[in-house]
Symmetry: C2
Subunit: 135 residues, 2 copies
């Protein structure tokens, strides 16, 4: 089957581009630098829906995204999560966190309303992501 991005993920994010396994998205929420990795495997919901080779790719792509975000934003900590309670399509959040951010030290998911980026700011972060992730 061909890969189709969940429409809620599409609505809430801006596209960065494709890595070997995942489509990389930027959450359109300027409160936190926040990437989402979506394995381009139709029907995947849980980690067990990927093969072991895809799982290894997923964690490598997550580690790269985390390293990029931490260096680029000088964040204190990277949060990684795959929840899927609302959007079942398997997707991995990679979020840069800092003391004093709007949800610190709690989780970002479900916290208040998104604050969309100004276009130039989003564009700059997308371009930096593409360069550093080799997209």
């Amino acid at each position: 089957m061909s890969f189709a991005l969940d429409e809620r993920l599409a609505r809430d994010t801006l596209v960065v581009g494709d890595r070997p396994l995942c489509r990389v998205l930027l959450m359109n929420d300027s409160r936190w630098p926040w990437l989402i990795l979506v394995p381009r495997r139709e029907g995947a919901v849980e980690l067990s829906d990927l093969g072991a080779a895809d799982r290894a790719l997923l964690i490598e792509e997550a580690a790269s995204a985390a390293t990029f975000l931490k260096a680029h934003t000088r964040a204190l900590k990277i949060n990684i999560g795959a929840l899927g309670n609302i959007v079942p399509q398997l997707h991995l959040h990679v979020v840069a966190r800092d003391v004093g951010d709007p949800a610190w030290p709690g989780p970002v998911w479900g916290h208040g309303a998104a604050a969309p980026y100004a276009e130039a700011k989003a564009r700059a972060l997308i371009e930096a992501s593409k360069t550093e992730l080799g997209i």
Copy 2:
């Protein structure tokens, strides 16, 4: 360096045992069947502090824990997260979620107070975990 479990993780959990990479813990919170995987690598905080081989092991051990929890509890969805905002030692949460659970569909982290297990219930879940995870 030898591995030492963070004392807050130790206090909040019961020990299941060791897999090839991770110490497996049961969160002592009966609201959700909830395992925690802690790579036995001293000083690891972010995914990038592990080598690629360890990262591949970590995601395999996470997938096994998720598959076990989902089958054993008949949960609707497994949530996976590595936050570390409070406890920096790298650790991965694997949590069984269901419609109507106390935090559904929000995240479990930081949600209310833990409800410790009755001893027999914890013992049964630990024994099932050991059997299914080959510990």
